[in-house]
Symmetry: C2
Subunit: 251 residues, 2 copies
Amino acid sequence: MPRQSGEPPKYQEIADKLRRQIGDGTYPPGSVLPPEREIAKLEGVAVGTARRALAALRDEGYTEARVGAGVYVRSWQPIVRNANKRLRTAQWGEGRSIWDVDIDDRDLVAVDVQIEHLPAPAEVARMLDVDESQLVYRRSRKYVVDGVSVMRSASYIPEDLARGTRITQLDSGPGGIYARLREAGYGPVKFREELRCRMPTADETEDLQLAAATPVVEMCRSAMRADGRIVEVNRMILDASRYLLVYDFPA
Amino acid sequence: MPRQSGEPPKYQEIADKLRRQIGDGTYPPGSVLPPEREIAKLEGVAVGTARRALAALRDEGYTEARVGAGVYVRSWQPIVRNANKRLRTAQWGEGRSIWDVDIDDRDLVAVDVQIEHLPAPAEVARMLDVDESQLVYRRSRKYVVDGVSVMRSASYIPEDLARGTRITQLDSGPGGIYARLREAGYGPVKFREELRCRMPTADETEDLQLAAATPVVEMCRSAMRADGRIVEVNRMILDASRYLLVYDFPA
DNA sequence: AAGTGGTCTAGACCACTGC
DNA sequence: CAGTGGTCTAGACCACTTA
């Protein structure tokens, strides 16, 4: 039988009900929802319709399905990322990686660290104000917290600034690349972060092991020297469900 | 027939193909994809499977379906929002961006403007450091650009700061509420913006007329006076597909 | 081995659009 | 009025998890 004309779709009403039950603690974070076949029987709908309701919840980030096991209620425990605090000059001098600062007491691990020496990608070349054919260093890595991939980052540095420093090595040394740039007299004085939020590509979903329908934040940070030259461009993809972003600025 | 064991699902392969064709210009922005029944026939699958492929594209923001008309390819023409424009114009000059966006100044129109006088919501009360029972002014509005709803905003001001000023009126006067606060000696000197990105609730989808599976940016801006008191809290919901957010800050 | 979510089929009626 | 996307049914097999 087709559904009667009129109000909201059945799958939406079932989803609303489950959403409410997740909200009021009937299904607390970490718990399992009834299987789709049981929901179908309880609500008197076809299994496909119950599936759509569950899919809606999954697509809103409420739940995570594990095949063979069940549909689990997710919780949101974000990493607080304060851009200004992390990049303050004082903290680079202390020999700490900027990434240590805001992770509370959770372990943050960089994996899949790579250094490449390649021609600048078009947009990066425009930002760095160099020719596309010119070589840059690309330092890429993925960050993992509590076993969960939360971000992929790729940093681009013009060759003439990186040459002869530890920026070209896997371990860039205490304080990271900003400390190296500063030692060489190229310390950045200003930053710009541009962000957009969108649904991930298939590659990003695979790389960060994103739950279905989790958005990503695509961020580009550029670091500028006193004379106005951009000395580094950092392109990042963040699992949006894992981050709370904070910016402070004067009026 | 159930599908053969092995590689990616059919609907995913069809989606990949369409995604590629959107990318290479076979279906340019604004064009219409073949109807689901035709895709089903062409690909030799059931209509439901073709539908899943189209649903995947829609869920990634590539397309927008108009019932009765067809599935249209979307384009991304974001509003560039520079949180601290003063810093930007003074120190960065004309902005270079990785994203190729026109920085045109389209007019933002405020609609559905409302002023309420109500007890502070719990989180707002905590931010403003007042009792939950205490009254605050809530100024809410929706912003529309080119006929499209892009943001909903709700600003909260403690009663003792707003009383006797035009902050309590629909038209808060030239310069907006910050000018009024400044006149009263309460001018903010610092801002903080906290952002998270997530899938919208059903209410938000309805309110902003969001395309299916478009993420939102949930933002909370607080304005701080010289003595440290927070004089305003502004809660915003942005259609993520319409915004490019920019933050400048010193090292 | 039983149960679960993921995929798929082959139909159907509805509300809406555009001619 | 023909065509479109949205919803729904009642089945089916698969790969996987759990015990």
